[in-house]
Symmetry: C2
Subunit: 343 residues, 2 copies
């Protein structure tokens, strides 16, 4: 059993550990958008400074895009979509362009989005030709009677809604291809039981991107997007497109986006569990997130984490891994980003 | 707004409304298995007595099969699987053999199962050639590292596990085919907006089967299986294969299987919501189920219902529709079945 170390990152603590830690914490200013790029970070010892800067640059770009969308439309769902699109378009994160490969050498993408006022939601799973799965999830929420569409059917719906189609080749990146080859090689060496259906371990076992946002009307929104697990098979779907597991939003409590070992997050309905601990157990946002994470079975290297935001602009970022690509932006546009857990 | 009439069916009330209502309620005997065949019942005025008897006969057969499995193995998960297989093999219910048709004239099946001790779970979605999807869900739970497998991939996994394959023609039944033709006709007459992706209304909009069971060791299990929605498109998936929405089990609270308007059940994470109201809100099983159902948006004709069972053998059956095909069996084998709500 690895002792679990919890990293609770409230506003002030968060500022203290980031590049902008020298700025005074704006304790009264609401956080309007929080993003994550997954809790499966590259070990600190292997992270070159230039690479770290690149991660922070894209996180900042995502935050600014979301903040700008919020400025234009005053709708939290626009901020979530805009921020996630930036991360999907980057090859750094396991979502969109940077998605990992499945066992058959294909990229199967999942995403979901939810708004907290009427608890409407949309999701897509196992899509292979949609450039921005988060936008497809949003189209399902707003332009269909359904919540979850999967596979070819989801693609037909998305293209009928004029979402951008790309060739599956668009998702090919040399780094992810290398990861698959490594996973396949390790699998062959280990000769697992037939049908064991295990995903290979990679540098980014828990890669996912997500965002939670709050708009001036007090409406919360949450979204999550992923390429899943390197070397996954058999149409495996994780928690990212599952409302209640990877994503949830309820104006009366909070908006949540999770990242981590998807199966564990589904079995524990983690996103809804945080909402329920606040709603029925009268816990604070921070208590609810910490307790929900602590309730999960421990795993070597950590099980994952989550970001959450309540209707008063309080944010919580919680993870039990070595780090989590993350950032947040306040009402006035002050950005902070971070990757590793601080001692 | 249709006024919602709640039908709370606790053991004694349940006995009173069933064919065996003349028997004294065995207040101290634990209920070990509850099944449902969906809350989308045929209107009472259209239900011939012979047809009603047929429904009750299959419900009884499912209960006896589950009870027998419990006698053999003392495992609640065996009781759930055995009971659901009987209902899947009948053409009466919208699951397995009796599954409804999608827009393209195909049958796409979904199922999930969960056990409450370690909260392990398995599910399959959009499978077309697996005779008993509940058994595939169980294979995912017990023989893979995953929770949710979908489409072709799920089938490849199931057949590698030696589950029984059938031709898609197996699922063709004249009644369901008629329902699709009627839905297509009505849709054409209404000429909906392109891409609206609405499912057609049928006699059985909320057809689903499910079971919850308790074994002598105090372990709970829950399972749900469905053919989804007549005339569904675009790879639509409802709540039945979604852990937390259609199915949940946690020994510390209860096992739940839901049926109804799947999108509403996903957006409200209904199965997990009942567990959470008990766990964090300290509600009784009955209060939790009633409150969870009442919290859903009202719909003309009702939104659906659920069965739930706690570790002491207390059962609850709740629905806001005209009826729900349902039944339960006690430790000693006393069976009760019912279809409609009593005044």
């Amino acid at each position: 059993m690895t002792p679990r170390i919890h990293a609770v990152v409230l506003l002030s603590a968060f500022l203290a550990v980031t590049a902008r830690g020298d700025e005074p914490p704006a304790a009264r200013e609401r956080i309007v958008l929080v993003v994550h790029g997954g809790s499966g970070v590259r070990p600190r010892s292997e992270m070159a400074p230039a690479r770290e800067q690149e991660y922070r640059r894209v996180l900042t770009e995502a935050l600014r895009a979301g903040h700008q969308a919020l400025g234009h439309t005053s709708r939290s769902v626009d901020a979530v979509e805009a921020a996630i699109r930036v991360m999907e378009d980057s090859s750094l994160f396991n979502a969109g362009k940077g998605a990992v490969f499945n066992h058959d050498g294909r990229n199967e993408l999942d995403a979901s989005i939810m708004e907290g006022r009427e608890k409407r939601a949309g999701a897509v799973a196992n899509v292979t030709r949609i450039k921005n799965p988060i936008s497809a999830a949003r189209a399902v929420m707003e332009r269909s009677a359904h919540v979850l569409l999967i596979g070819d059917g989801a693609e037909r719906f998305a293209f009928a809604q004029h979402l951008r189609e790309v060739s599956p080749v668009y998702f090919w990146t040399p780094e992810r291809w290398e990861e698959l080859q490594k996973a396949l090689h390790e699998e062959q060496a280990a000769s697992p039981a037939p049908g064991a259906a295990k995903g290979g371990e990679t540098d980014h076992p828990f890669g996912t991107v997500g965002a939670v946002a709050l708009d001036p009307a007090g409406n919360l929104a949450a979204g999550t997007s992923t390429g899943g697990m390197t070397n996954k098979r058999y149409g495996r779907v994780g928690d990212s497109p599952i409302i209640g597991a990877g994503t949830y939003a309820d104006n009366s409590t909070c908006a949540v986006s999770c990242t981590g070992h998807g199966e564990v997050f589904i079995r524990n309905a983690v996103a809804h569990d945080i909402v329920a601990r606040m709603k029925y157990g009268k816990r604070s946002l921070g208590e609810a997130a910490r307790e929900a994470l602590r309730a999960l079975p421990s795993e070597p290297g950590g099980v994952g984490g989550m970001i959450a935001l309540d209707a008063r602009g309080n944010a919580i970022i919680e993870f039990d891994t070595e780090g989590m690509y993350r950032g947040q932006i306040t009402e006035s546009g002050a950005v902070t980003t971070a990757i590793y857990r601080e001692p």
